[in-house]
Structure formats: C-alpha cells, structure tokens
C-alpha cells in the first residue's frame, strides 16, 4: 500500500533512489544536497539497496565515475548542488555526448561569489547547454515523482540522455511536506529493467568510446545528438502520462494553472510556482483573470507548447531565478520571448529576476507582479524589460 509520510525534499529524493535501487551511485557531499547522499549511504550500510556506493573525492570525479559506470552498463545516479555542479561542468557535456542516461538530482543553490548556500537557479541555468534533460520540481512530491520518471525518460531507446532532476535548495530540500510514497514493487514495475547499449563490460564486442573526433565527423555527431531532444520531449510527455495512469499524478512539459481564460500570466519554475498559485487564487477571488504557466521541462525547451499556452494572454511576466550576466534579460525570458516570436505570437512580456541567493518571495510580491501586468497590458509594453524583484536599491 502507498503510504503518506511527512518528508523533506532531500529525504524524498533519497527514498526514490532507494526504490529505484541503482547499480552505482558515485557522489560527493555539498550543501544543500548532502542529506540525499548521507541518507542513501545509510540505505547502503543497512543493506536496503544493492548499489555500489562510490565515495569519490570530488564532484569532478563523481560525474566522471558516473559516466564511466553508465558506459560499463547499468543504472547510475548522483546528487549535487551549486559549486558541485560547476565542478562537474566539463564532464556534463561528455555524459550527454556519450549518450549516458545518468540521473543527477540537483538541489538548486546559488553559485559563488560571494559564497551563499541558498536557492537560486544559477547552477543549472549555467549547465543548460550541456545536453542534459532538465526537470524542475515545485514541491517535495514532484521532486520524488520527477526522479522516478527521469529513469524512464533518459534511458528510452530514442533518447539515451542524462537527466537533471532539480528542486529548490532549502525551500524544498529542507521543507517537510506530506509525501505519498508509492510501493517499492510499483516503482520497480514502473521503471522496468535497465537495457544497456554497447556496454564496455561486453568483452566479446569491444568498442572504443570517447575517441578523437575532428572536423570530418564531430559535426555530424553533434547533429545526431541534436535529434535526440525531440524524442526527449515526447518521452517526458509519455512517461508523465504513464506515471499518471499508474500513480494518479499526471505530469507534462508544463502545468497550466488557471490559464485557459487568463489575461495576466506569470511564468515560473520550481517552488516559485507554488507561491504564485496562492497569488492567483487571491486575484481570482477579486475577479482578476490571473493565471500561471509553470514550466517543468526547461530542457528540452518546449517552445511551441509555451507559445500555444500563452497566445491568449494580454501580458506575461517571466520570472528568472538566475542572472545571465552581460545579457539584457534572464535565460528563461530570452527563450520564452524567442519562442513567442517564432510562433508569431505578439504579447507584451516583462522579465523579473528574483530570489537570488535565497531572497524570499512572498505571495504579495507576486500579486504585485500581476498588478504590474495590468499596466503592461494597457500600455502594450513594460516600462522596462527587466526588473529585480525584492532587491534594495
């Protein structure tokens, strides 16, 4: 029987890892994801998993060992945050290029400097071009559900890509919520057995992996890799549907919240979406047609789907929890407005950079954004394209 238990985000992730029971976990501790690794270490110590747990000396070695272990042939998982992800950066590209479906939980945290252990998305936004699928969770339940789905998405035959399953540091990782924990057997049934492709442990069929690849072939290989992201988008939708059928919680590329008739739309990812839902309810009670578009999959980026979802809006506020220094706007804004432009959808959009280094965002802050949007819609453009939310001048 599935059970409902109070759990922190990190505990929920560790619980999903226990149920997935990967062959190899190679990990290194870093705040705020440490609890995942240490909870899992206890599962190993207590014989609750079959996993070979490799306690590497750095995140660079963690991702190197994970990539190699996946190449050997088997299911591989890991968890990290912030500087840890940054130290993996070189290898992230290689994991994706070698088409290794490694699953990495990223508990989002600000990058230094100055050093800050709290939430923002600068770590995973920095890795957005590395070739990994990226899913962002709003709450503890989603963090758990996303991780289980990540297994099937990444390892699908026409995808074969690594997946980052992201949750907000402290806001979700250290928050207790009621979690529906599914049965171990049901989770195992859902993920199925791992199918290795060209495993290095196949001595009879030796292959050379990671060769020197120059101007005569490298480009074709990159183009081939490019073609995996369409099927990846499809896989996120199909695995989300299958998950909904089995467990009753349905997932897609995004979640539309009060969006059908919405005039004023906030677009956000992760825990901010939960806060925004509160604001939407407040405004709906006043008769304001407020709606929320929560993006779950940032990679692959569902450009057409976003344009379709937003086309009826009068004004949209796109919220970035990361700064792209030197750019005019945040990364989510840049991609969403590009998607709208390409789809021929012309809506005034404003960009908010919020919550850097864990700065609190309240429902009132978000209500304020909706109020701004009424003005943006009336004037046909925002007073300025980019604003910092809740920052002292």
């Amino acid at each position: 029987m599935p059970q409902v238990k109070p759990m922190e985000g990190n505990q929920a992730v560790a619980e999903a890892m226990r149920q997935i029971n990967p062959d190899v976990v190679a990990a290194y501790p870093i705040t705020p994801s440490t609890e995942i690794v240490q909870t899992f270490a206890q599962f190993v110590a207590d014989g609750e998993v079959d996993t070979n747990f490799v306690t590497v000396e750095s995140e660079h070695s963690a991702m190197s060992a994970c990539t190699a272990a996946a190449a050997a042939g088997g299911r591989v998982m890991n968890a990290t945050s912030s500087a840890g992800l940054a130290l993996m950066w070189e290898i992230l590209y290689i994991t994706a290029s070698l088409r290794m479906p490694v699953i990495l939980t990223v508990v989002n945290r600000a990058l230094s400097g100055n050093i800050n252990i709290h939430c923002d998305h600068s770590d995973t936004m920095g890795a957005r071009d590395a070739g990994w699928i990226q899913l962002y969770a709003e709450d503890v339940q989603e963090a758990y559900d996303n991780l289980i789905q990540a297994v099937g998405i990444g390892a699908r035959e026409d995808v074969r890509l690594p997946v980052m399953s992201c949750l907000d540091g402290f806001l979700v990782s250290h928050s207790y919520e009621l979690l529906q924990v599914e049965d171990d057997e049901a989770v195992q049934e859902f993920i199925g057995p791992y199918q290795a492709r060209y495993p290095l442990l196949d001595i009879e069929n030796p292959i050379t992996m990671g060769p020197l690849d120059l101007w005569d072939f490298y480009f074709e290989h990159k183009r081939d890799q490019w073609e995996a992201y369409g099927p990846a988008k499809q896989a996120i939708v199909e695995v989300g549907e299958a998950f909904g059928e089995k467990f009753g919680r349905h997932y897609g590329l995004m979640e539309n919240y009060q969006l059908d008739d919405a005039e004023f739309v906030v677009m956000a990812m992760s825990s901010m979406a939960g806060t925004a839902k509160d604001a939407v309810e407040t405004l709906r009670a006043e008769g304001v047609k407020a709606g929320l578009l929560k993006l779950r999959a940032f990679r692959p980026f569902p450009a057409e789907e976003i344009a379709e979802a937003l086309q009826g809006a009068a004004a949209v506020a796109i919220c970035d929890r990361a700064a792209s220094f030197g750019a005019e706007v945040g990364p989510l804004y840049a991609e969403v407005t590009s998607a709208l432009y390409n789809a021929g959808v012309h809506i005034p959009c404003s960009n908010y950079i919020y919550g850097l280094g864990g700065r609190m965002v309240t429902p009132e802050d978000i209500v304020g954004i909706y109020r701004d949007l009424e003005q943006v819609a009336a004037e046909g453009q925002p007073p300025q394209p980019l604003q910092f939310l809740g920052v002292r001048s």
Partner: protein, 319 residues
C-alpha cells in the same frame, strides 16, 4: 608462472598496429607489454593525451579491447567507475540476481588505466589519490614521458631539472626547468596500496612481470613507466629502449617495486653510470653541455640522483 618471451610473442595484440603514435614512441611498447601480461579480459581507460589521440582517430581504433576516454584529469575516476559497475553486477549475482548476459560469469575481469605524466603527476593526481584510497581493483599505468608532449612539449611536474621544454625553455639566463621532478612513485607508495612499481619499456621482463603481479591483486596498483619520447626528448627513434635502459643504469629512473610495503630493487646496475651518459644523447639536455652554468646544473642533478638513489637503497634494505 611468468610468460617467457616466446609465449609473450604469441599473445594476441590488444593494441594493434596502424595507430599514429610517433616512430620510436615508448608508450605503445609499454602498453603492449602491460596488456600481454594477462590473458584475462581487460577493460582500459585513457586520459587525454598522445596515446588517446593517436590510437582512436574516429572512425578508426587500434584497440581490440573495450576502451574509454572521458577527459584529461580523470583516468582514475573513469576506470574505477567501470570497476564499480562490474562489482555491482557481481554483488547482485552473489545474491542470486542473474548477471547481465554480456558479462562472462566465469571470467575474472581486469581494469587498467593508461595516463601520461601530465594526467597523473599534475591534473589527474587528485583523482588518482582518491581512487587508490577507495581501494578499487585496478592497475594504473603512468606513461611518463616527462612533459606535456601531446600539446607540444610543455613542462610538467615530472620534467627533470634542466629539461628544455617550451614552457621551461633553455635561455641565456635560465637553463631549462628549475625544479627536480616530483617523486610520484614514492607518493603512491605512501598511499599504502598493495603494489607500486617503476619500470621501463627497455626491459620487457621487468615490466611484464610487474604487470602480472599487479593484475593478480584485488586492489589498487600503480606502475610508473618511463616512456622515452623521441620528439620531446630529441633523441633518435631507434634508441628508445636503450635510452630507457640508460635511465636505469644511471639510477635516474631506478627499477623497483613496493609490495605490501616492502621496498625491493628489481634491477641493480653493475656499475652506476654518470648521468651524462643518459643526458648526452638527448637534445632536451644539450644546453647543459655548454658553459659553466650547464655544468653546475648537471652537478646539482647528479647530487640529487645520488641522494634519491641512496634513499631508495636504504628503503630497500641495501644501504
């Protein structure tokens, strides 16, 4: 029983010909000798470097065994990731869960990493130190040509004093590299792993026997092989084995092993030759034979070699 020369010569080549390493390169000689030392299945990892770029130019490969390259500084993490997956499957099998059909249940798989001195002494040292501390079953072979040869002969911490490289050039004021090389083999012995050795490609019996020993151990092992580089050392390609022999005969690169903490010389030159016999055939040291400054550097090098040799003799109980 160690294989004799005839048996070795009949061992199928795991690194075939047709690769694009330079004529006279010490690396493929060392790699073949190491891989000939076991008949068990072997999976290899390499770091970025000459061996990697010259043996795997897509769509060709010179490897007849499973081989992987991920990056420069992570050969040890890479090979231990593979070993970890193998051990994971074997541990599941011990609980009655069937092995994947691509794993031979009766074979005893071996894991070997080949990495250059840059990938071992410098950028990959952390990865190596961590991997041996964790106690994985693997052999790490450092193909030490004493500089970053793949990028065009830059100094590494394995470059000997006086060595002329493109980042420690011999100039009118500074005569090549200013520091002695790092004693990495002793560093690895200090990790208290079951087996550590130094060898050269010029004495096949020495290297193959050491590789045999290492492969037989269920734990981390390390062999540091001095692999002459005709391009970077600027010597004639046909004297590669002789140059490596001179490194042993001058005690610049002594041949020894450390087995379970026991230090042992595996070759003691009948007569310890002066370092000049090793330095002279190599263009990278030519500037040391001009003027008073060069003579000073040679003197300091000889003193250091004597000091290290006496230290080694003491560790081996031969002082």
């Amino acid at each position: 029983m160690p294989k004799n020369l005839k048996e070795l010569s009949h061992t199928p080549l795991r690194l075939t010909g047709g690769h694009r390493l330079c004529p006279g390169c010490g690396e493929p000689i060392a790699v073949r000798q190491v891989l000939m030392a076991t008949d068990d299945p072997v999976i290899a990892a390499s770091c970025t470097g000459c061996l990697e770029v010259s043996t795997t130019i897509f769509p060709y490969t010179a490897w007849n065994i499973p081989w992987i390259h991920i990056a420069f500084e992570n050969a040890a993490a890479t090979i231990t990731g593979i070993e970890a997956m193998y051990k994971a499957h074997k541990a599941r099998a011990a609980k009655g869960i069937p092995l994947p059909d691509y794993i031979d249940p009766d074979a005893d798989y071996k894991f070997v990493a080949f990495a250059g001195d840059g990938g071992t002494y410098d950028i990959g040292f952390q990865s190596l130190s961590g991997a041996v501390e964790r106690g994985h079953q693997f052999l790490y072979v450092c193909l030490n040509n004493e500089a970053y040869m793949n990028t065009g002969v830059q100094r590494s911490s394995a470059t000997p004093m006086g060595g002329n490289t493109t980042t420690s050039p011999a100039g009118s004021v500074i005569p090549g590299k200013q520091q002695h090389q790092k004693d990495l083999t002793a560093c690895m012995a200090a990790h208290d792993i079951p087996y550590v050795a130094q060898s050269i490609p010029g004495r096949w019996r020495d290297l193959t026997r050491k590789a045999e020993k290492a492969f037989a151990i269920d734990g981390p092992t390390f062999i540091n092989v001095l692999t002459p580089c005709p391009l970077g050392w600027r010597h004639a390609p046909e004297i590669t084995p002789e140059i490596s022999q001179l490194a042993a005969d001058t005690c610049i690169w002594p041949l020894y092993e450390v087995e379970d903490g026991e230090w042992k010389l595996t070759y003691k030159p009948k007569e310890k030759k002066p370092i000049e016999e090793y330095l002279e055939p190599q263009g990278r040291f030519r500037h040391l034979f001009r003027g008073a400054k060069g003579a000073e550097v040679r003197k300091e090098m000889q003193q250091w070699v004597d000091y290290k040799w006496n230290q080694l003799l003491e560790r081996c109980g031969e002082a």
